[in-house]
Subunit: 237 residues, 2 copies
């Protein structure tokens, strides 16, 4: 078992009673996984909720010809994948370790019991799941309504909004390879898009990006903070 | 106010205590909306949860050039959009009435209070939200990993799985116009795709579709019942 105070630091469990936390801690497993390992695969039965403590994990899916796409990248503190766990369904995505990861595994039945108890826990779960739903809606909108260049521009503006340092200079959080996969394009496609975005005042040097005018770039891709900025735990508006 | 027994028939409220139902009924509004009206628009603050009693509603979004896409079609019994309501955020999609609709509006604060109570209500909400999340994940996967023809084929196989009458003959549930919008393509694009799908043994006559071989069509688009079939209230596996 793990220590209850470890759970206490995870947003999902904030406001959970010490007694409930103790019980969850008893049933929770802690695992370490090396880069390239899979925590679970698309199609597996969802018996555990996963919480990333350290490292990096990507959620991926495979197409009819075996091609792979990255749907989301998970950071420490993130839980995945609530929707499958709550409904006892199969995972629609695989979870692959990108950077050596420490992970908590919480049994599905235990979570469902905690929701029944009511109070903050159920609400925390709903908020987390809601944010995940909204991330997917934004992805669908992006894929349907934006060109490749507009999609990359919107991604940069979301980062600028999040990093918020004068907003014009941002640091790419991932390798170009991972970034391309996350945006649903090839690495060559991403490079071509960065070249095309020079016209919109976007300069890139290694992992540093400079945006000449946030307003101009917003207009180019129709970005709105209200609709396009990722739901974050401490939103800025 | 509306009658509590009306709420009782909605899956979201199954297992809710009569006392809680009475309280929700007191605060719930019932509205009628004509075709073409909007219940709310992308960007509006989410103060109410909507439940469709009769008619048809589409969730749409607009792109940078003002172009519109249909993200989902809602049927009687469906609730929308939980994720925005629970987190007090803005709607990421607009809700437009496609066929004269009767709708319940439930105040967000009241729902959050009910979740705090625990029991079945919070769990029902989580299940509904989970199914909605999974629908969006499938859409992202479809857009990223399938060609247009494979996407239409997967849509038909999901319908066949749902309608389940010998599986080879299905009825399109919507006009071709609505169908094209839902699949993220133009009406001409959809017609061209139906023509191309003849090679895969798909024959279409008005709203009747005949699939020569389910197995062949599955292979063509990599369809799996476990991963691709929409989560339904009474799943078949």
């Amino acid at each position: 078992m793990i220590e209850a105070h470890l759970l206490d630091q995870i947003p999902l469990f904030s406001g959970t009673t010490p007694k409930d936390l103790e019980r969850v801690a008893w049933l929770t497993l802690e695992v370490e996984c090396e880069k390239g390992n899979f925590l679970f695969r698309e199609g597996d039965k969802a018996d555990y909720l996963y919480i990333l403590l350290s490292g990096l994990v990507q959620l991926t899916a495979r197409g009819p010809e075996g091609q792979q796409t990255v749907i989301e990248i998970l950071y420490p503190g993130d839980s995945f994948i609530l929707a499958a766990v709550i409904t006892h369904k199969r995972f629609l995505m695989s979870a692959e370790v990108v950077k050596k990861a420490r992970v908590l595994k919480i049994p599905a039945d235990e979570l469902i019991e905690l929701i029944r108890h009511g109070g903050d826990f159920g609400l925390n779960m709903m908020s987390t799941l809601s944010a995940q739903f909204r991330t997917m809606v934004r992805q669908v909108k992006n894929q349907r309504l934006r060109t490749t260049a507009q999609r990359v521009a919107a991604f940069l503006l979301d980062l600028a909004y999040d990093q918020g340092r004068g907003e014009n200079r941002i640091t790419l959080p991932h390798s170009k390879k991972l970034l391309a996969a996350l945006l649903g394009m090839s690495q060559e496609g991403l490079s071509r898009t960065f070249t095309a975005l020079k016209e919109q005042g976007v300069e890139i040097d290694h992992n540093q990006v400079h945006i000449e005018s946030i307003i101009k770039l917003r207009r180019f891709c129709g970005f709105s903070n209200k609709l396009d900025a990722t739901d974050r735990i401490n939103p800025k508006d």
